[in-house]
């Protein structure tokens, strides 16, 4: 037996850390589907109390997935800065929370502490934080990154232009890129999810996106979000790629289901250093999202928030330019409604930021979730307040290829004006040169894609 706690007169027993972690989570349909969630609010509170008193050393000494069995655990374990860890190992999770939220702990301090924390510790901390805690703490952390251009500075809200097309029609992809650019969207990346998984097609899209960038001298980066092996082949055949993309899972088995492992990521990293078209140093684009390990039955009984944190632990070893949690894409069996999606979006953003990652969020939902566009607008405001590095820009939020809704070009332009945020500096200069933006506001011609025809 691991720990007991008494809540409102009832005693709860927890067999192990895994159980405490799972039951301390805010309600998620995915944890319920896995059969590991707290049965009621009381049990959840008991778990949170147990968790609050655990020290960071206790968490480290009880690995949820032993490093001998799982390479993601190994990567996380090896990434811990022992000197910093030694300084804080006797803190309880409660103390860690209070330190992080204190006035003394500024962004520098959080970035320093971050290096002594494992992904499990960050997950544990997150379970004790309220939504506003998550927003406040994340807003302290500035994680800029540089590929062709820099994003992630304080006061900057960048956006990915996501110009997907149901048949990968190049003209159609370009049309959506033009629309995005005309709203000041595309400073994070021009990133296309291809439908066709052939090397030819992926390479063609790389070329087409690069052509648009070169023709209009746009300071941004391109990426085609095919499987990493397909991108590698396209790059080897001369396809221009500023960024290389891959979805990550928080367990070795989950990554196997994605057709990747650490060795492959190393190989891709090496290829980008040799044949990528950007100066870097950051040339990775990772996507994650709570629930993917359960969907491939690779969760090992661990809750989805903790597994998500482990994705970030893996991601940070590659110093990515973009990490994006696709928070509401996976479906209602993992995040049932808008409340769960909003919570998960704030959790993921905070956890990513505390891992030192340049964190963005795909604020999104599918049509079988209990959520709608108003919920996304809410979460967009919360994340923009929390200092999210970038959001996803889709024409009128409707992705006509992936069949889900995200944030629109209008939404991102609105958030910028509302909260006084700016596009990435080099991109803003370009927008000014094109006459699309002046003093941080869209001009009269903004919204006219035909200026790029």
């Amino acid at each position: 037996m691991f720990k007991t706690a008494k809540v409102l007169g009832q005693t709860y027993q927890f067999q192990n850390l895994k159980e405490v972690m799972a039951k301390a989570n805010e309600e998620k349909s995915g944890d319920q589907l896995a059969g590991i969630a707290a049965v009621d609010l009381r049990e959840r509170m008991a778990a949170k109390q147990v968790l609050a008193d655990l020290t960071l050393a206790e968490i480290r000494s009880h690995p949820l997935l032993p490093p001998e069995q799982d390479e993601v655990s190994r990567v996380i374990e090896e990434g811990i800065n022992e000197k910093i860890y030694a300084r804080i190992q006797n803190w309880s999770v409660a103390e860690l929370r209070e330190h992080i939220l204190s006035h003394q702990a500024d962004g520098e301090e959080l970035r320093r502490i971050s290096r002594g924390l494992s992904s499990e510790m960050i997950a544990a901390l997150t379970k004790l934080m309220s939504n506003l805690d998550l927003i406040l703490a994340a807003s302290k952390i500035e994680n800029p990154a540089h590929c062709n251009t820099s994003i992630g500075q304080k006061g900057v809200l960048a956006a990915r232009a996501q110009p997907n097309h149901p048949t990968d029609n190049i003209q159609g992809i370009k049309a959506s890129i033009y629309e995005a650019l005309s709203y000041g969207i595309g400073d994070a990346v021009i990133g296309v999810n291809p439908v066709i998984d052939t090397v030819d097609s992926v390479k063609n899209i790389m070329i087409a996106t690069k052509e648009v960038m070169e023709k209009w001298a746009i300071p941004t980066q391109n990426c085609v979000l095919a499987h990493v092996t397909t991108q590698m082949k396209a790059i080897q055949q001369g396809g221009p790629a500023d960024l290389i993309f891959q979805s990550l899972a928080g367990s070795e088995a989950g990554n196997k289901a994605f057709g990747i492992n650490v060795a492959l990521l190393e190989e891709a990293d090496e290829l980008m250093r040799k044949e990528g078209t950007s100066p870097g140093p950051n040339h990775w684009y990772f996507e994650t999202g709570q629930g993917s390990e359960l969907s491939s039955e690779a969760h090992a009984g661990i809750d989805q928030l903790t597994l998500e944190a482990r994705c970030y632990g893996l991601a940070r070893t590659y110093n990515p330019f973009l990490v994006n949690t696709v928070v509401g894409f996976i479906g209602p069996e993992y995040l049932y409604d808008s409340k769960q999606v909003i919570r998960a979006g704030l959790e993921d953003h905070f956890m990513g930021k505390l891992h030192g990652l340049p964190m963005g969020v795909d604020v999104c939902y599918t049509n079988h979730m209990k959520a709608d566009q108003n919920d996304m607008e809410n979460l967009g405001v919360l994340l923009a307040s929390a200092g999210v590095n970038f959001l996803i820009g889709v024409a009128m939020a409707d992705d006509c290829m992936l069949n889900y809704q995200s944030t629109s070009f209008h939404d991102i332009a609105t958030l910028r004006e509302l909260l006084g945020l700016r596009p990435a500096p080099e991109f803003e200069k370009w927008l000014e040169k094109m006459g699309l933006m002046k003093n941080g506001r869209l001009t009269e011609i903004a919204g006219d894609p035909s200026i790029f025809v």
Binding site: V195, I196, D197, T198, D200
Partner: protein
């Protein structure tokens, strides 16, 4: 399907020169793995380009067939190519050559000797289009806004094709070419094409064969020819002298041309220095070099930009060899033992949504096309024609049944002797339609139904042998000889 390459040849038999290329075309999947399969040509490699041979003629109006055959055979040997390797391609007989008295026989016999599925074709319109593809004009029109005119100027004709966004929006041909006036180094005119005599007359230029012409006179002719051509494309009112140079019909309306590319032998001659003397002009025994440079000069005073051609003298042959083959849809209804089929004329059946919902309307429309076919080809024809379906965007199962009923019944009634019904659909529905037709026909006639190919009235088609049992290569051509 594993990586598939097909070998394709192009042969261009022109007024003054003959050339050949060998290429290979790679088929690649262009659909997602969760869709119906679709393969298209995704890569084209030029493997061999022959030197440029003078076209062997017996006399002014007759091609030396035996000599042409020898050239082809030699070039195949040099390219290390066996006839059985060739899966597609085109022989195109271009310019004035197509009016030579034995042109038609030559082109057919060449097609037979050039390989199993090399099609014979000719016609200024097709030539213009192929040249525009080979010169890079088509590809450029996908990149830039506006209309790009590719003018392929050879010995006898200038074939222009207008491209916009990768589509051909018009073709027009002029009697403008380097060999329309042949002369020696002294300016003695040895040949004057009858095609330009009335134009010369209208321009007040009285010249005739066996006369000696001055450099200045010749320069004036070349310059005026250039003005007639570019004047037409610029839409500038006033000069209608181009009418006398037209071969065939003019465009219904000349669009605003933004860029001009000049390919063909004359396109290549534009690259050299300006010929300053009659000796330099007549280096090939004609006024081609002067025409080339006057075209280049004249271009400057018109509103369009001239863009250099990626291919000049080989534009047409490259187009014929590398750009003439299309791949049908990959869900089709084919019968390997009935393929290949060559020179199948096409009648276009344009159906609209309302036609597909009414047995009556459909019956009338299909009846009309069958009647037309019977008039043109005779009701006893065995392989009369292919029916090209177009005009609608969606076909329900109920409409499909109606269509299959009417097509099968109409065809059987009009062509009882035919043992094969060929249908070509623009929309992706060939397998469904083929199945429905086949259920109705029960082998009498047999059915071939392919899709995702766009053909026009009067086009001829060659249907190749199946690739991976799923699709076929197709070459669409226009066999229109100018008389």
């Amino acid at each position: 399907m594993a990586e598939t390459w097909i070998t394709s040849v192009g042969i261009d038999l022109g007024t003054s020169t003959t050339k050949l290329i060998v290429s290979r075309l790679r088929l690649g999947r262009t659909s997602s793995s969760f869709s119906l399969p679709r393969y298209q040509i995704v890569e084209r490699q030029l493997l061999y380009a022959s030197p440029i041979h003078a076209t062997p003629l017996l006399q002014c109006d007759e091609i030396d067939a035996a000599a042409v055959s020898r050239i082809i055979q030699q070039e195949y040997a040099k390219a290390n190519l066996r006839l059985s390797d060739i899966q597609s391609g085109a022989v195109i007989i271009t310019g004035e050559t197509a009016t030579k008295k034995n042109a038609e026989q030559i082109v057919h016999s060449l097609a037979e000797r050039a390989g199993d599925f090399v099609v014979a074709t000719a016609g200024a319109d097709l030539e213009a289009v192929l040249a525009g593809k080979g010169s890079g004009a088509e590809a450029r029109s996908k990149q830039v806004k506006g209309v790009i005119a590719n003018v392929d100027v050879g010995g006898g004709t200038a074939n222009a094709a207008l491209f916009q966004r990768g589509n051909v929006i018009g073709t027009v041909t002029f009697h403008i070419g380097g060999r329309l006036i042949r002369l020696n180094r002294f300016g003695d005119i040895q040949y004057l094409s009858p095609q330009i005599r009335s134009w010369l007359k209208e321009k007040g230029m009285q010249i005739a064969e066996a006369q000696r012409i001055t450099y200045a006179q010749l320069q004036h002719i070349a310059s005026e020819m250039a003005r007639s051509l570019f004047g037409y494309f610029s839409g500038i009112e006033g000069d209608s002298s181009y009418r006398l140079l037209l071969a065939g019909a003019a465009l219904d309306k000349v669009p605003t041309v933004d860029e001009i590319i000049v390919s063909g032998g004359i396109g290549r001659l534009m690259e050299g220095p300006y010929p300053e003397t009659m000796e330099e002009v007549s280096v090939y025994g004609d006024f081609g070099p002067l025409l080339a440079h006057e075209l280049k000069e004249a271009c400057r005073s018109y509103p369009f930009h001239r863009i250099p051609a990626e291919q000049t003298v080989r534009a047409t042959v490259i187009g014929a060899g590398m750009q003439s083959t299309e791949i049908s849809g990959s869900t089709v209804f084919i019968d390997a033992k009935r393929l290949p089929i060559r020179n199948l004329p096409v009648l276009k059946l344009e159906l609209h949504r309302e036609d597909l919902q009414s047995a009556d309307r459909l019956h009338k429309k299909i009846g009309a096309i069958m009647d037309l076919g019977a008039r043109l080809f005779g009701s006893k024809a065995v392989h009369p024609f292919g029916i090209a379906l177009t005009g609608f965007d969606y076909c329900s199962y109920a409409s499909l049944q109606l269509l299959a009923d009417e097509l099968a019944a109409g065809y059987k009634r009009s062509f009882p002797a035919s043992d094969l019904l060929v249908v070509i659909s623009e929309n992706d529905m060939a397998k469904a339609l083929g199945q429905s037709l086949s259920i109705r026909c029960q082998g009498e006639p047999e059915v071939i139904c392919i899709d995702q190919i766009r053909v026009e009235h009067g086009d001829y088609m060659d249907l190749g042998e199946p690739i991976s049992d799923a699709m076929i290569p197709v070459v669409i051509k226009t066999l229109a000889f100018h008389d």
